[in-house]
Symmetry: none
DNA sequence: GTGGTCTAGACCACT
DNA sequence: GTGGTCTAGACCACG
């Protein structure tokens, strides 16, 4: 499942898991109707509580990324390419909007912002 | 002081205050050695707890934006233009970093990010 | 047998089966002493576990809709018209009771409920 | 807060709480922006775990009935009369639709359904 | 085997 | 004081 946890991070563990899996679904790496691994298995592998995983799974279900079949497991909701693009657009806009506002507040012009973004993008690989 | 609070926001109130005042200092709107209003006054005007204001002030002092003179109040630290630029750089980097990472996670390339940033910058007029 | 399963539904599969077969018996479509198909056959056709079918059959037997002859299979209990009416009454009451309570809780009066019921009944053609 | 729990019921406790409070909000009994009692207080009064209450509160927040201000508490989302009417309509339709389908399945005509509904409505007071 | 619910108890951040 | 997060552990329903 390719989940990486950073226990030191300020963002809650369940959110880290949520955003990574939802990103994988949006990128199309997890096919529609494919099964997610059982929460107990994930918990064992990541060495964190079952409940924390469950909370991430619940959030994924709440936002429509997965669906649960009791007794069988959790499965990826099939999403059309357009839906995935919309979701990505929406998420990205939400993330960046606050940043742009803050940058403007600090007096940065567009070029300065793009410069920083470019630098950070390169660093992030 | 031009502080606007959104009590329902997810970002803590003290942080909202901190970022707005530090932005004003970095932009040079608050001159070096000028006095900040007493916390009780601010608390009354914003209708929030004195403790919250105090926490914002402490954070500002901790990061070197203001200094306290016991019995007299708090004052803006005089900062050279270069220092202000450095601080701005540092704050902006902190803001953007994790969101850029998230954008990469969602499969956006640099051009797409810059495109969105440009659009949002224009929208924020 | 005309059974339709929705695996993603919140109602357990065995209950879906139970209610559909019991409905057929109550409506008189399944004659008394007629044989139900072997559970293995049903399981194969519906592509679900034998255990699930068995649970549905057990529930049907428990409520008196069918009887088992060891080594021969399961058969529909012969029911008089009055008994069928009684059973129907009982089942319907069980279904509607808690939802009527919820409707009252939401502030609907009897006329409003009847209005909605009438509309939905027509829509369900 | 007028919450009544039935531990024997098959419906989870947190759902019982959720539906009762959401019903109160929809009926307009809980004014917009009024504070809900602290989860610990409710837990003590109902003699159930804090976590169960929290789950109910989370569901209420997820569906937009309440909002949380960290450090201060949870508050009722202000809803217009039309919105409340829409929500009620939507909930009631969802509840009754399944019932109507089942009743038709059992061979009841509209008059029979209305008769049962009327009887149950009277009994439920 | 799967997830769903409930429990008790701890630590943290914010006001 | 408030809610937010994480923990461990138990019991149940479903397949």
């Amino acid at each position: 499942m390719d989940i990486v946890i950073n226990p030191q991070s300020q963002t809650p563990i369940y959110q880290q898991i949520f955003s990574q899996i939802s990103a994988q679904i949006i990128r199309g790496e997890l096919a529609g109707d494919s099964a997610l691994p059982p929460i107990r298995t994930v918990a064992r592998e990541l060495k964190i509580s079952v409940i924390t995983i469950k909370k991430a799974w619940e959030e994924l279900e709440h936002q429509g990324f997965i669906y649960t079949v009791t007794g069988k497991g959790c499965f990826v909701t099939p999403l059309s390419l357009e839906k995935r693009a919309d979701l990505r657009e929406h998420l990205v806009t939400g993330l960046l909007q606050k940043d742009i506002v803050s940058c403007r507040e600090l007096g940065l012009d567009l070029d300065a912002i793009i410069g920083t973004v470019t630098k950070l993008y390169a660093d992030a690989e």
